[in-house]
Symmetry: C2
Subunit: 195 residues, 2 copies
DNA sequence: TTATATATGGACCTATCAGTCCATATATGT
DNA sequence: ACATATATGGACTGATAGGTCCATATATAA
């Protein structure tokens, strides 16, 4: 079988660039022209390689989710304790207050907020991504219970949902330009509940 | 002075209809055609009465904020205690889980999420609106401290920020279609922190 | 070398966007 | 009644949206 002209760009890098655009601008507001410019490919290549804008978004969201969950899992494993992991995660996130990074938020919560009331595939994928975060938190809570930092009779699923709520709220606070000191204090209050 | 042809619609009702559209669709995704249809006025009337889409959005957001803060203030005053008010507010909101209302979210947090990284007037107004919610919670915390339900040595501003974080997170959870029971449990955990 | 298969650039398509314009309608003050 | 001022319907504008098309480029298999 002949193979035809080879692809001239890295689909991986292109998808990564698209992810950044959707992250910064949101799904609807990211135009195909924005995407093309960031991905540095031609319009033909985008449709050839990714199908259409919706499929490209799904690819970008899944990539973001994969990267995030993998990174968090690694951090969880490397932490002296699951509680320490949670404290670092929320603490470091709160420290972003006022920065440009803070204004970006998290692609998953951004998407859940933007697409929550649709019932198309991007909306479903956004919800699935939020669930993946809750699953990660659930793992952390269960470990923390095993390590004795959280009472083992407490509902791990409820605590995991509570942590997802907390991270979503924290990200909204950061987007709202809340006072850094108050944001840090609020994040500390959040974790006090676990003890 | 002559007065010219009188306006044929209620600017109040029209603005209210516009608010619903921005609430359901977001700022960018709400097209002027969507707005016109919901407001039941002509294109000329929209631009004549409200200036442009951005100003109409600001009017809608301020209206939403005014309505919300007024209503919450009334509920706070009518409550047997500020703590009871907070429990009702978070409890009732959590009960929306799974409903269409839940998918709508709150126009203020929706806007903060969508517009957070801009630096135009709508973005500033969204942030101002989040601050208004924090101010309301601050009032409730201070009252609750006076009523003895919250220790008076605790930082009322930090607690208010924490409650804003909590409501923003709860709204995101509702938008993500989280399990109703888990959502309610998470909302209860949120308020446990106050005691 | 040639046939084949895939990739690419960029012109092009229709739909829709926010916003403007103007003729016409409808009120008031004299 | 008439001059004046504001409101309205709807056609229109240029810009931009997502997506298609096709001629051309560039690889491989025979």
């Amino acid at each position: 079988m002949t193979r035809g002209r080879p692809i001239a760009f890295s689909p991986d890098e292109a998808a990564s660039a698209a992810m950044q655009v959707f992250w910064a601008r949101g799904y609807d507001s990211a135009s195909t022209r924005d995407l093309l410019e960031a991905m540095k490919i031609s319009r033909s290549s985008l449709y050839q390689a990714f199908g259409n804008k919706e499929q490209l978004f799904l690819e970008a969201l899944r990539r973001y989710r994969g990267n995030l969950i993998d990174r968090l899992n690694r951090q969880l494993e490397a932490s002296p304790s699951a509680m320490h992991f949670l404290q670092e995660l929320f603490g470091q996130t709160a420290l972003e207050a006022g920065s440009e990074r803070a204004a970006l938020g998290c692609l998953i919560f951004n998407s859940a907020s933007e697409l929550g009331q649709r019932d198309d595939i991007p909306s479903i994928e956004a919800k699935r991504s939020v669930q993946a975060i809750t699953a990660l938190f659930h793992e952390a809570v269960v470990r923390s219970q095993a390590e004795g930092d959280i009472a083992s009779d407490r509902d791990a699923l409820a605590l995991a949902t509570y942590l997802t709520l907390g991270m979503a709220g924290l990200r909204t606070l950061l987007k709202s330009g809340a006072d850094p000191a108050q944001t840090r204090a609020a994040a500390e209050l959040l974790l006090d509940t676990l003890r």
